[in-house]
């Protein structure tokens, strides 16, 4: 495979040489060749390479699908988030076994009592409830849609915040070096030794005590997920800038007397961008996993509202749900997997697209 590629490349380059030779003699020819060759900008090339990979297209479809599902889906749902379904004609059936001993013989009777159900709990999959209802009588499909809103929104906000902090601090450390670098990198070292989960558990308890409205808590948690997560970006940006700083184009930028601001924002940041975008895309999946773990431990969105993680935590409270009602905890779990998988596929696709050499 590599061999043939090389051969092709050689063919192309030799063809170019001949074109160049002829171009000098016949100016008319040159114009026609330039017209016939479609010039692609680097961005277009990246996009083209991205769509060539099957996995990245699958990932994109998965993510777009999930976005439609959670943001458009609820419009078509007859149920609301966090509201139990009270309209049901299902019955509670209680069977009592009774034994009578008459004339030495035992008779077994069963008393069957039917009472109308107030709330449509643990309903099976049906036309009314496509994925049934959970232990509190809420429509699983609708809850899953709303849970998706939380996970997807949060993952994007966290990743963008991480990127901002990471680029600024990592950029400062890499560009200026010296004591700035030492200070920032020591902070990074300390943060990287903080165990994520215990810290988030403590923060969850602290937020509880600060009497923060339960609905808003997840947004505060988000800030703290960011505070724990920016270190990776800072390290990446710093490393990139350290190596870029020494390259010829930066020497030339300095020689031309460009301002520091221009050097950073026009020369360094665009060069870091490809790596950054790939890392961030892969990071989106990580944030979703973190968020769902927190919701699973009941540190995220509070109960009547939905989050994928907290929907799965129903399994812990009621083992019959774990045993018999996969339709309650399966769908949110599958959604988490799809979201993380989708972002990973897109991230991998982007990496290959940005840098075809790294394709391994």
């Amino acid at each position: 495979m590599n061999e043939t590629e090389k051969l092709e490349n050689e063919n192309i380059s030799s063809a170019e040489e001949t074109v160049n030779e002829t171009a000098g003699t016949e100016a008319v020819e040159e114009v026609s060749i330039a017209d016939s060759v479609r010039a692609l900008s680097p961005t277009r090339l990246v996009i083209k390479r991205f769509f060539r990979s099957k996995l990245s297209i699958i990932g994109l479809i998965m993510i777009i699908g999930l976005f439609l599902f959670s943001f458009i889906g609820p419009i078509f749902s007859p149920y609301q988030e966090g509201v139990a379904d009270y309209s049901t004609d299902r019955m509670n059936v209680v069977t009592t076994k009774m034994e009578y001993v008459v004339d030495g013989e035992t008779y077994v009777c069963y008393k069957v009592e039917k009472t109308p159900m107030a709330v449509d709990r643990k309903a099976p999959v049906s036309w009314e409830h496509w994925l049934g209802t959970d232990g509190d009588g809420m429509d699983v499909l609708t809850q899953t849609m709303y849970g998706g809103r939380i996970s997807l929104t949060i993952s994007f906000i966290v990743v963008i915040l991480e990127m901002l902090i990471g680029v600024i601090l990592g950029g400062l450390a890499g560009y200026f070096g010296g004591w700035v670098d030492t200070l920032i990198m020591r902070i990074v070292d300390i943060f990287s030794c903080l165990p994520d989960l215990p810290i988030m558990l403590i923060i969850g308890a602290v937020l509880d005590g600060m009497k923060i409205p339960a609905r808003d808590r997840i947004y505060y948690m988000m800030v703290f997920i960011t505070l724990l997560g920016w270190i990776g970006v800072a390290r990446l940006v710093r490393g990139q800038i350290l190596s870029l700083r020494e390259q010829e184009f930066m020497v030339s930028a300095t020689a031309r007397g460009l301002s520091t601001k221009r050097k950073i924002f026009r020369h360094l940041i665009p060069n870091v961008m490809p790596h950054l975008i790939v890392t961030m895309t892969l990071g989106l999946g990580g944030v979703i996993l973190m968020e769902s773990t927190l919701s699973y431990l009941n540190l995220g969105v509070p109960k009547p509202y939905a989050a994928w993680g907290s929907m799965i935590s129903a399994v812990d409270k009621d083992s019959s749900i774990l045993q018999y009602y996969f339709n309650v905890w399966g769908p949110p779990g599958i959604c988490i997997v799809l979201a993380v998988l989708g972002f990973n596929f897109i991230g991998d696709g982007l990496r290959d697209a940005f840098d075809p050499k790294s394709r391994k």
């Binding site: 215990p198 308890a205 773990t293 799965i312 083992s319 774990l322 045993q323 779990g333 997997v337």
Partner: protein, 327 residues
């Protein structure tokens, strides 16, 4: 070399100090302290406010954050992490007693998934873009994307409830097992570890396998591999003798980085399966505001992390003689 090591140790001490300050401050910001959750929230309590104040004094919860931290710090540098509120034992003892459960669990999983991941990664790399390669890629991606609590729930449902191969009650013992012989008790315990180990193995396999595959592909492009092939060595000799050694370099160094996970346990998996490891103890302690234990546990993790990074660097030098210290 000596200068480098001293520098690293000083840096590690700084990191551990920073971590302890951060965690202590956070812990003291927790709203309900141990005395409150334990005594005041209990409806049967007959404690007078004075008694509660006394209790708080006793537990050292009346000090300001700075004074409290100083008291903790003075003891901690002598490796005395105080008494756990919840477990009524010295923190070091609780950690020591519960560490081995987590250690066994993680070590057994490690012994399974490490060689397996390396082997599968190499197989995938050798047949790049083959069916096996695609299958492993998708499989590893799935492993990375599965949340541990969801995957363990699936395993419990399928293997414990549907197939009935495993005990469905939480914990390490089958309740119906009465007066077991030591041998039976041992097997029972081992059987209870199968599902947790399976969870860890499948979830950890993916990341490592991808790394092993990437390394192998890099090595396979090296000149000396071409030379080995040109010499007419068999493909097996090329891959398992020449390439294999070099793919091992980053993987061996990664082992040192697994140190905190090895002893620190995993909160979620221990919680889900009801294993009495250190992760579960820490989770319970966190929920009740047991400051000494949580501090001790987090310090334990931080020290292991720092140690892990340090060991990884040293291992790198040991395994790969080309790496030299520049600083």
């Amino acid at each position: 070399m000596l200068k480098y090591i001293i520098k690293r140790i000083l840096l590690s001490l700084l990191i551990i100090f920073g971590v302890s300050v951060l965690i202590y401050t956070l812990l003291r910001c927790m709203p309900a302290d141990y005395v409150e959750t334990k005594f005041t929230l209990n409806p049967n309590t007959e404690l007078t406010p004075e008694r509660i104040a006394q209790m708080k004094e006793l537990y050292g919860l009346n000090d300001s954050i700075i004074v409290g931290y100083w008291k903790w710090f003075v003891k901690a540098i002598r490796f005395d992490f105080g008494y756990s509120f919840k477990y009524n034992q010295p923190v070091t003892k609780v950690i020591k007693d519960n560490m081995w459960m987590s250690f066994t669990l993680t070590l057994l999983s490690l012994v399974i998934y490490y060689p397996l991941a390396i082997f599968l990664g190499i197989k995938a790399a050798v047949k790049q873009y083959g069916a096996f390669d695609y299958a492993t890629t998708v499989f590893t991606m799935l492993g990375i994307s599965l949340p541990s609590f969801f995957f363990s729930a699936i395993l419990i449902k399928v293997f414990a409830y549907d197939f009935g191969w495993f005990d469905t009650s939480l914990g390490m013992k089958t309740p119906s097992l009465i007066n077991p012989t030591p041998w039976e008790a041992f097997w029972d315990k081992a059987w209870h570890l199968v599902l947790p180990i399976m969870t860890i193995v499948i979830l950890s396999l993916g990341g490592l396998m991808r790394r092993s595959r990437t390394n192998m592909l890099e090595v396979l492009n090296a000149d000396y591999i071409r030379t080995a092939r040109a010499k007419g060595l068999s493909e097996n000799a090329v891959i398992y003798k020449h390439a294999f050694k070099n793919t091992m370099i980053p993987l061996v160094t990664m082992l040192a980085g697994l140190l905190p996970g090895l002893f620190g346990g995993s909160m979620i998996i221990e919680q889900v399966f009801g294993l009495e490891g250190i992760g579960q103890k820490a989770y319970a302690a966190l929920n009740e505001g047991d400051i000494p234990f949580v501090m001790g546990y987090n310090m334990f993790l931080a020290i292991l992390t720092v140690l892990g990074i340090f060991l990884a660097d040293i291992m790198y030098m040991v395994v790969d003689p080309r790496v030299k210290i520049t600083k």
